[in-house]
């Protein structure tokens, strides 16, 4: 479904990613973890080309992505992304946030898009908020709208960049619940998170990054209970699961 080979990325002299190989299959939920600065967010951003790689190949659905500027919009339309800080469009209502891309990018019929947007909002539990502006929402509600907005493009894969890190603790649950529902529906997801419980309960695979390389890539059960990797054990002890 989505495959990354030998991904290198530097910012100036700083080498952030030093040769990452990863493949995610359809319907898989992969959680990326690692200490801050390990490169997990940067890697995620490479997967929808918000960062362009210095080296390496990304293949989506068997097609190698050409990282040319005019090609990227088409690719990004198929790769959804949810950000740590939501990044909702403050000048548009919740419904308009969800409708924007299908209308503008896919040029779908407005009536049809509206119907679909209402359905998606219902799915994330925010039907009654369709007409309000984002500044009237709690953090958890904002993030659920952001997920709805990404879903409206019917992406092949959904990327989550620390989706609950900016939330008050009591609001984390509602967002994780929506994500879990999506996982159960078979959505392909790559999630950067510090929520170990989510990783344990929902992820098919856990990938641990450290200093720009993958140091462990195993199924969740193995990762949390039978890992032999020293750095993983250290990390697990630190986050205390």
């Amino acid at each position: 479904m989505i495959k990354a080979e030998n991904i290198h990325k530097s910012f100036g002299d700083l080498k952030v990613l030093k040769g990452i190989d990863m493949e995610v299959h359809r319907g898989e939920v992969v959680v990326l973890i690692g200490v801050s600065g390990s490169g997990k967010s940067t890697f995620l951003r490479c997967l929808n080309f918000l960062e362009l790689t210095n080296e390496g190949v990304i293949t989506i659905d068997g097609k190698q992505v050409n990282q040319k500027k005019d090609n990227l919009a088409k690719i990004r339309a198929e790769v959804g992304m949810v950000f740590q800080h939501f990044n909702l469009f403050p000048h548009k209502t919740v419904l308009e946030n969800v409708m924007e891309a299908p209308l503008m990018v896919k040029k779908m019929d407005k009536v049809q898009v509206k119907k679909m947007a209402h359905e998606i909002l219902k799915k994330v539990g925010l039907s009654e908020k369709a007409a309000v502006y984002p500044n009237k929402l709690s953090g958890g509600q904002k993030q659920r709208v952001a997920i709805a907005r990404a879903l409206a493009m019917e992406p092949k894969v959904l990327l989550f960049d620390e989706p609950t890190s900016a939330l008050d603790p009591e609001l984390v649950g509602e967002v994780l619940q929506v994500m879990q529902n999506l996982a159960e529906e078979g959505m392909t997801m790559i999630v950067v998170t510090h929520e170990m419980k989510f990783a344990k309960n929902v992820a098919d695979r856990v990938i641990m990054l450290d200093e720009g390389v993958i140091i462990e890539d195993s199924d969740a059960e193995t990762f949390f209970n039978h890992s032999t990797n020293e750095r993983t054990l250290q990390f697990l002890e630190m986050v205390d699961v």
Partner: protein, 221 residues
């Protein structure tokens, strides 16, 4: 009643018809200059934030030339420059000069407000598959415009007052009329007081409109 007030009233009574007409001209010139300024402002702001070195340089030259020379010189320069090429009356020459002048300042206002929009907005839009131009048009610019409204309003007020300078090329707007009246009635002090009040009234009306509009935008959001 003191002598001064009587003279002031006389001047007011004898000139208000002329000033009414001149006031309309002032408003027209200001409006045209504002429209030209906003159009040029958007174009040059986008050039300035573009990736093209050539476009950036052109925008920088324009802004530097306009900001580095007096408006009155620009008006004369444009008037004699334009009218040597095409036939254009002094009203339009003045309005265009004022508009071109405005464009440089408005470009800087727009550039600042566009660059002030959180870069997460652009990223979220790109991540949805919107290309750069859609992202600018639908997401970044509408937000930047809201942010630009207070400084733009300020710039429009400056334009309204600066429009008095086109009297140098013989446009009969408010200051031009005041100048002529004062030369014929020899009541310079009272006449310029009258025209000063007219400008003040226009500015106050415009400020009130602007405040009302800003409040409306806040409520909408």
């Amino acid at each position: 009643m003191p002598e001064f007030l009587i003279t002031f009233y006389d001047v007011f009574k004898n000139t208000y018809k002329g000033f009414l007409q001149a006031g309309l001209l002032t408003i027209e010139i200001t409006a045209i200059a504002v429209v030209i300024g906003v159009v040029l402002g958007v174009i040059f702001a986008l050039m300035k934030i573009s990736n093209s070195k050539i476009l950036q340089t052109i925008a920088n030259i324009y802004i530097t030339l306009i900001r580095g020379t007096p408006l009155i010189v620009q008006i004369m320069f444009l008037y004699f420059g334009i009218t040597s090429i095409i036939v254009l009356d002094n009203f339009w020459a003045g309005a265009i000069a004022l508009g071109v002048h405005n464009g440089a300042y408005i470009a800087e206002i727009f550039r600042g407000s566009i660059q002030g929009i959180d870069k997460g907005q652009r990223e979220a839009s790109l991540a949805l598959g919107m290309n750069s131009s859609l992202t600018m048009r639908r997401i970044v610019f509408p937000q930047a415009l809201r942010r630009a409204i207070p400084p733009l309003g300020n710039q429009f007020i400056i334009t309204l007052k600066d429009s008095s300078l086109v009297y140098v090329i013989g446009v009969s707007e408010m200051f031009g009329v005041a100048n002529r009246v004062a030369a014929s009635n020899f009541k310079q002090f009272e006449t310029f007081l009258v025209v000063g009040l007219y400008y003040l009234i226009l500015v106050l009306i415009f400020s009130a409109l602007l405040r009302w509009y800003e409040n409306k935008l806040d409520v909408d959001k």
